[in-house]
Symmetry: C2
Subunit: 779 residues, 2 copies
């Protein structure tokens, strides 16, 4: 845990240069716009600790897997988001010295991520070995408006000298991925071009053949006036630059504007990629930095309008939740159904930037509640587009007749992961993908999705479940053998309650969806049946038989669901009995010891109860929470949020707050000592859940907004915004009151503390939390 | 399956050169003497398919492991037997041509491994591109008498030309291991030396620092007369040679004798290694090839006298079983307690040449019955010497108080393997090591081993079992969670019957051994208690409590032991129902499908019944055999032998013969398509078991030799030899009779077909199998 970043409601502030933490700061201060992302690296040369990172969404490389002992069915490759050409670089030479914060003295250093307006700013005074003092101010952003572009304003002011300063803004394609398995390089050069104040390089990924053209345009300003300059073109292997030498006087500000684009063959004809890049550069250069920044401010203001959360009375908490929302919005804009949300987003290479079940289980609810429904729909379509590959994946493992197993980790629909107990057995991901369809339809009311896409996916997943269970003669029930649940601290167990429950639920929901689609659009239903050879009667009968006869382990004495059938054979004890200094367990205990222990990485059963809370009464929920919570060590970043939501539901305010704290500032405080690899993007959605579904008690049920809001004791107020169908609402809760506001014209059906009410368009209502009375506010 | 090798009772014959099978033939025709081993490579250059291999016992290299996903507790290194300097090499140049069987025409090729006399012979006529015809005859052996040496007689006869022929016998240290994880080289050169007709090179292994000096002495004979020759010394990086050019006439035989040694710093002071090598070379050169070969013949004759098996009426079977015995004797001579038996012996690199549980479970009975007891004792001492490391290994995994977990795979006592489900969970190996102590004491009657070494190992292993089980409150029994049994087609199961039974047995036997040692030598017992802090009363009470309350899964309906508690939840079906073309499963099914299936790689429960057959009545054995045998796919080379033994015991002659056939010619016929990697040395001991314990019905029980011999229908007779204490016996069984012969002076207590008899020294008895009458033969 580190606490060197300053607390502020809208800014992330590093004061004084923390050299040793630089890679952490780079992760935290990453910028992105859904199409591209850039770590908080320096523009000028830096020979100290740094992890360079520029990522172009959807461009990946199949890295050869590293396996100790090969198992049939393993994939050959792990698709990884690639470090693309460095577009931010600006080399600075002051006569014979190079500006490099590692080799000079640094004063008045300040690096600030402005979350409100979406830019990164850095200022410092460098004192070179020669004694020359240079003030630098750098500001940059990845534009939300021109979302394949970034812009930089890089200003230099000599403080105690006159000199010729040489600037070399460049594009560098000689980059590598630190996370590469065999230290391979991934890019080949296709072509390059330099012109006055411009330079372009087109690279092609090996194997996958993606082309990316990175280009730049440069302008120089002195004393606030744009000047012409002599520019020497530099063309080296995978490297292009403009070099210009300027006379700089003491006290005079020289500003270099660098406009850059990353265009990929995903979106452009590769034959015209460089021409398009030139056009793009000319367009944004014409627009200019100030106007681009103004547009950026406006775009972010629009974002915040629909999804800000405000916490009064706790700056750290305020900063934490805004940081989560900011990063989620930077990572995924929802405009392109080919893209998804990697666990590290655009903030690092770790986990390859691929898609996990995190998207459906944790991120989708955030986008459902804060963005246009098309954003969530695109997340669903991403999986729909991968259905064929999921069927092929299942076929490889011995399943048939259109059964689909979605991959544990993927980029393009193919499985990337290679641990048998996960790749082949952590199959609950399939259920989360089915659940997401349900969640989307429930939230948006958009049943057309079921008709057009959802049902096809549901049938394929249900076919998988039907084949994955088997009839146990001994039990006279269906069993599901060899499973790893979300609690990855048990592997290859039999009858994991969560997975079996989810499987049965999927079968039930598929049967229901079949009925619904037949009703909504019988023609499309028949067309689907033909296309995928759906034998309705037989498959539905099988599904029903499984649902009725599935074995779900249960302890009659404690009246709790059992994580897996043999859980009670373990020595049960609370995590508080783990001796000091042995946590996290995964850094201190051997794997077999962890597996045999009762300690839980993230609680399966509670995850299931969270998904299907309406299936269980409050006492059942409480018993299971009380049984599992003490044994849970939360060594998954996705764990505490679910506990926070359930604790809130059970009125366990302190526990809910404790759980919230574990996720809220995970990266800002480098809680797990791993933020240098990148930020935990998907778990940020969990933080949002802990606030909005937890403290906020927000649900959608029966086409209504359900609210049971509370406010942690040490906060003055909590306010969050939600979009529900065409309404934009704000819920503000203080220690005494709840205020509901409807910003839209559309009225919204709400159930507040169990009382139904309709919040008319453009209206506000305040409820006293103690007296439960509903007092309409004057709008 | 390939059948290109000719059947012969004593010889393995390749006629015509099978280029594409060359690596298989090289494996099969490997030579060894327990100290060094050499694959059946060619002496002259060969640019075709070949796996060069010279292995020096005990010299290994810690190869950096390759792991996909690291788990706490994994070892960093995998110790591997190393390919050492090539000592057999002889380059042959005929004027401007190089002799290379890949590039010339080959006639009259014949490669023969003579198992009776222990040498490899090869002859051929090479027709060079120039049309020159050269007859070559090469004969070599690894000497049993001078067991760090080998000798080669390499003869050339020009058939249609006179020419200058240049010979370059060499030592080449630029070798690599094909099985290296990161393609590293393992050897550094220390020094080299050349002299007239001699050359030496001393290499040092990286990291482990073993020194090996490989040296050679050369003599030349023409027309049967030793001649002087001009020799040019060659000294290159890691390469030394003598080059000599000889006038050779048509029809004239030129013979090069090459004497070589491999001396290692395991056995010599490294400062004097090269001097010792020089002395050794001079000594054996003085002895000469013919005398060395005569000694070799005699040494092998002595071997066969004590452990030959003869099968009349089936040449393939005869060849198969002799090949097994030959290779086992070549691999381990039992003189050095630091050495052990790798799964590939000296015939290949695969599996690193390290020690597995194969040694205790399969090989020990062979050496007990065929060799001096000190050989078996040395196998036991190998593990005793590793006890400290086994305790350290267990400590790393969280066990304490002197608990020992022996490694799954090891060279020097440290764990090498890195698959969690095996490394941490396939812990039955610990039980096999305890069982071997019991087996040894039962066979030899040598209880002093228990006093001096055995009990200490037993206590440490029992401590492990006591901690590895845990009390299940739910069952009110001890359970053993997270185990992989010998059936590696189930992983991480709970309550594997075999492992739990073996654990309980170990605890029982340890309690018994404590009592015995106290009685035999109370002083040593007390000294041991002090040294290892053995709290007799408490530890014995714990052991007894576990033995009384361990959970052993059992099916009340079928009255069979259950491989693991959930076995009956699987869909049970015989292996005969596996669709054609899907076997071996491990090459056709995904790993999870194999794990979830009922199919068994090698049957756990039957392995346990085989070990502890006296604990079960014949009906119980039959029920379990009938239940498990049909589901067993025998995809471990160690599986069929156990089934063969049990089938013989149950009178299932056909099944016994079928199972015998699956192991007997595994390598000779390349049954599994993998002999090119090396021979399955440890499974050869299994073949011996199938014959001697299976058909022979041989056991040791209550200090008596138990015999229930039978003879497969298509054999005229089966005869095997056994050493029991000081007696050397032969059992010969035909379709009608059993003849027992005692070659020694010592009388032997025998129970034949349930009837006790004493076979006096130097006597013979024949029993009619039909009438059961015992008719003493005239000696």
């Amino acid at each position: 845990m580190k606490q060197y970043l300053k607390h502020d409601p809208w800014l992330i502030i590093e004061e004084d240069f923390h050299r040793n933490y630089n890679e952490i700061t780079e992760s935290v201060m990453s910028l992105g716009n859904g199409r591209m992302g850039q770590r908080g690296n320096f523009e000028e040369n830096f020979s100290g600790k740094t992890l360079q990172g520029n990522y172009v969404a959807g461009v990946y490389y199949p890295d050869k897997t590293r396996v100790g002992w090969w198992k049939n069915g393993y994939p050959e490759y792990f698709a990884k988001v690639l470090n693309a050409a460095n577009w931010i670089g600006i080399q600075v030479f002051i006569e014979y010295e190079t500006l490099d914060l590692q080799t000079c003295e640094v004063r008045d250093f300040r690096r600030v991520l402005n979350m409100q307006e979406g830019y990164l700013e850095r200022s410092f005074v460098a004192i070179l070995k020669s004694g020359k003092q240079l003030r630098v101010n750098a500001k940059r952003f990845c534009s939300l408006v021109d979302d394949e572009a970034g812009a930089i304003r890089y200003s230099l002011t000599p403080l105690n000298f006159d000199a010729k300063i040489t600037l070399e803004p460049y594009i560098d394609g000689t980059i590598r991925n630190r996370d590469s398995n065999y230290d391979e390089t991934f890019w080949d050069e296709v072509r390059k071009e330099t012109a006055y104040g411009e330079a372009y390089i087109e690279l092609r990924t090996r194997k996958t053949g993606f082309h990316v053209c990175t280009g730049m345009g440069v302008e120089i300003e002195q004393d606030g006036i744009r000047i012409d300059f002599q520019s020497q073109p530099i063309r080296q292997e995978k490297y292009v630059a403009n070099r210009m030498t300027l006379d700089c006087r003491e006290g005079q500000e020289t500003v270099l504007y660098k406009y850059a684009v990353n265009l990929s063959s995903l979106n452009y004809d590769r034959d015209h990629l460089m021409a398009e890049a030139r056009k793009y550069i000319q367009r944004i250069t014409g627009k200019g930095f100030d106007r681009m920044l103004m547009e950026q401010r406006q775009a972010w203001a629009d974002q915040w309008k629909t999804n800000d959360i405000t916490i009064e009375g706790d700056a750290a908490a305020q900063q934490g939740i805004r940081f989560c929302i900011f990063q989620l919005n930077q990572t995924y804009s929802g405009e392109d159904e080919r893209l998804n949300i990697g666990p590290k987003g655009f903030t690092g290479e770790k986990y390859g930037g691929s898609t996990y079940w995190d998207t459906e289980a944790y991120c989708l609810p955030f986008y459902l509640a804060t963005a246009d429904p098309k954003v969530s729909r695109n997340l669903l379509l991403y999986r729909y587009r991968h259905l064929e590959k999921a069927i092929e994946n299942a076929r490889k493992l011995g399943f048939k007749a259109g059964a689909a197993l979605y991959p544990m980790v993927t980029m393009n629909g193919e499985e990337c992961h290679n641990e048998w107990e996960i790749t082949f057995e952590e199959i609950h991901r399939n259920g989360a993908i089915a659940y997401a369809i349900y969640d989307y339809v429930r939230y948006t009311g958009d049943e057309s999705y079921l008709v057009d896409y959802g049902l096809e996916v549901l049938i394929a997943i249900s076919r998988f479940w039907s084949q994955r269970v088997n009839w146990s003669e001994a039990r006279q029930q269906y069993v599901m053998l060899g499973v790893t649940g979300p609690n990855e601290y048990e592997n290859n167990v039999n009858n994991n309650w969560y997975t079996s429950y989810l499987a049965a639920w999927t079968l039930r929901y598929t049967v229901e969806a079949v009925g619904r689609v037949k009703q909504l659009n019988p023609d499309k239903f028949n067309e689907l049946c033909d296309r995928i050879h759906f034998r309705e009667e037989k498959e539905i009968a099988t599904a029903r038989h499984i649902v009725e006869h599935i074995y779900l382990p249960y302890d009659e004495n404690r009246r709790v669901f059992l994580q897996q059938e043999s859980f009670l054979d373990k020595e049960l004890m609370p995590a508080s009995e783990i001796p000091k200094g042995q946590r996290p367990l995964n850094q201190h205990w051997s794997w077999d010891r962890i597996l045999r222990s009762c300690f839980i990485k993230q609680a399966d059963v509670l995850q299931g109860i969270y998904f299907f809370e309406d299936d269980f009464d409050q006492d059942t929920i409480r018993r299971n929470f009380d049984f599992y919570e003490p044994m849970t060590v939360h060594e998954s970043s996705l764990s505490p949020c679910v506990h926070a939501v359930l604790a809130s539901k059970l009125g366990l305010e302190e526990k809910a707050y404790e759980m919230y704290l574990r996720t809220a500032r995970l990266d800002l405080d480098d809680y797990n000592n791993d933020t240098e690899d990148g930020c935990h993007i998907t778990s940020m959605a969990g933080t949002w859940l802990a606030v909005v579904k937890g403290f906020g008690g927000f649900r959608i049920r029966d086409d209504q907004v359900i609210l049971n809001p509370s406010c942690p004791k040490n906060w003055a107020s909590l306010a969050f915004k939600i979009r529900f169908r065409n309404a934009l609402l704000e819920v503000k809760v203080t220690q005494s009151e709840v205020t509901l506001q409807n910003f839209s014209d559309q009225s919204a059906p709400i159930v507040l503390f169990g009382q139904p009410l309709t919040l008319a368009g453009k209206s506000r209502k305040t409820v006293n939390r103690k007296t439960d009375s509903v007092a309409p506010d004057p709008a």
